[in-house]
Symmetry: none
Subunit: 208 residues, 4 copies
DNA sequence: GATGAATGAGTGTTCATTCAT
DNA sequence: CATGAATGAACACTCATTCAT
């Protein structure tokens, strides 16, 4: 089973598909980050990935489906971070603070790909948006934050005067709007400072 | 009968242009609110305004120009509100609180047109966005808020520990993100509650 | 009103559209006759008509709509012939005989355009055909023939033993199948002879 | 244990090819009957047959070749019926009548697969049709009918006034057009009645 | 024998823009 | 001022076919 030939074969047989799909998702991510969703045409994506024009449809069937997969990949990556934070935090407030900070950290360095999610979020604002993936996901995130706050009100780490749902909307809005501003405004913003303010803001408004 | 008719005609002649432009801007606003910027084609806009397919180009030359004008009209309207608040507020903190509340109030009622600005904001996230109008405007708003906070730190209404620029980014991000969430999430969000939370928590984080 | 300028103007203003639409319909008709519906792409049609690729969509919106219009034009032309025959025939049998003969006469000369209708008919055989225009039209024609036979049974020109609906299906099938055969079979078929046989045999089977 | 297994395997090895081909032809037949020739893509056919997307090309090389084979299979099946009728009929007229009735009987029940032939026939109407299989076949059928009529004029069962070739075209046209009408028209047609009319029609027009 | 990854041509459609009227 | 005919580029998507496995 360990013969190099078999390993070679197994890799070429099934992983070629994985390689291609990952390359296509990477290409889509960077193109969206640069030019937006509509300008990231399937032809450009295929060619930036080093393949042909038609490969995206061959693998994903539909542009909408490609976007869903890209979103899932992004969320799966972030979920690992959140799970780890949840396990190693003393209470709900600390988990919330660290999660928020981890999320904003991604946008601190002007990386090439991280904006893709924000751009997909921004493209989901019109009601007639084709994909409902963002909408569904956002609703889940909102519920998670609300649940976290409610839990913190039980474990005593969060002030019981806070309205969990309203606070969640405010907080998630902040978490989307801040990276949004960094993408829109041309002058460099000091995200490190903003992160500190956000931490302070949350502590002051949630502590009992 | 001739003279009044002529006056009427000449007046109509000049104002007909204004009427048409306003009708086109209204049509563009509602179409963007419904279908997004790309789907709001110039033909649809002209026809919804009750005119022909070609009128938008005739009046605005370019789609990008139409969007700029739409943005200007929106901002001019909101500037009146802000100016009035500034004049009638005791200090900077009160002005800030009232301005924030006035802004969020617009999104409380699920109106037909107000989302258009948010949709334009969301469409400006990709770096390769054609129009720079949003970008420039957002930078100005940011400066205004920063100046306001700095002024409040001088007049004593705002805590001097606050970093004015970082806080501005956080606050403006919140002001864009909250309406964004209401547009993306399908379930009805209680904006009235969110407004209260926002007020309370700005007070908590800015008061000396 | 008769000034040449006005006439010139009126012609250019409105009839340019008519000219273009007729040219597009003609181009579509000949392309369908040569290559079938699917191969008659909108680009080919526009260019054969002497215009651009996009004009078909500009005028007809949709390929399906273009086909509908083409069908209507064909039917309107044939209806004139049928109406004239109906008015100048002594009884229903004679009207039927002359109508059938007029229809088959079109396919006697291997003309360029007449096959287009048959090709559209043939393309409507799969149940998942997009356009329902042929289907609806065929049902109307069937009803007309049935009514004609029933009328002939009343006026005494047609045998009352004949089942009007079944005979109509047989007759209309014959009228579609015969031209179909001439299009499919390569060797030249003597349509004149076939027309004679059809006449004689309708008489034999319908006469009282 | 090895020998029977090998025999079993070898037999399966050969027949697996036949099984696959028949499954592919069945799948093609039903897909064509449902969606037409162009929409019956090779990938769909392979997958409906329970195999892979690429199997059709592997076995038939070309879509056109698949269609030829499908046509051959259809004709081979119908030839058995015709041969049997020819052997058990008293004279040419009876053979013709029974053959026609056997052919129409297939379309009486709204079966799933029988329309595939008619759809292929309809798709062969444009001159630029790639496959010539239908064209050649139709010419042979026409010759057969003509020969049958001529033979009937010799054996005395058919009127000598009839023009054999012209009558053949008329009859074959009828035999294609009637099923065609049942496929195009949505309202249910009473094929049993039509078959009776056809029988009567042929008797009245061919009997001496 | 059988699979399915990869290609690239082709289609209908949408759209901003130009320009003659 | 206003219309709308005409253009041509761009897009998502479907598909037959090739070929490595």
């Amino acid at each position: 089973m360990n013969s190099p030939v078999k390993v070679e074969t197994r890799r070429t047989q099934q992983e070629r598909k994985q390689d291609a799909e990952n390359a296509l998702l990477d290409a889509a991510e960077s193109l969206i980050a640069e030019q937006g969703i509509e300008q990231a045409s399937l032809a450009k994506i295929g060619e930036r990935a080093g393949y042909s024009r038609g490969l995206v449809n061959h693998h994903f069937g539909t542009k909408d489906n490609l976007l869903k997969r890209l979103l899932e990949r992004y969320q799966a990556g972030f979920r690992l971070v959140l799970d780890n934070i949840a396990k190693t935090s003393k209470n709900s407030l600390e988990a919330l603070l660290r999660s928020v900070d981890a999320y904003l950290e991604v946008y601190q360095v002007p990386g090439r790909k991280s904006p893709a999610f924000m751009i997909m979020w921004g493209a989901a604002l019109p009601p007639a948006t084709p994909s409902e993936a963002i909408s569904d996901s956002e609703e889940r995130v909102l519920s998670m934050i609300t649940a976290n706050i409610e839990h913190g009100q039980v474990d005593g780490s969060i002030n019981t005067n806070v309205d969990p749902e309203a606070y969640s909307v405010m907080l998630l809005g902040m978490l989307r709007g801040i990276p949004g501003e960094t993408l829109i405004v041309k002058k460099e913003l000091d995200i490190a400072q903003v992160r500190q303010e956000v931490q302070r803001f949350i502590k002051q408004t949630l502590k009992p």
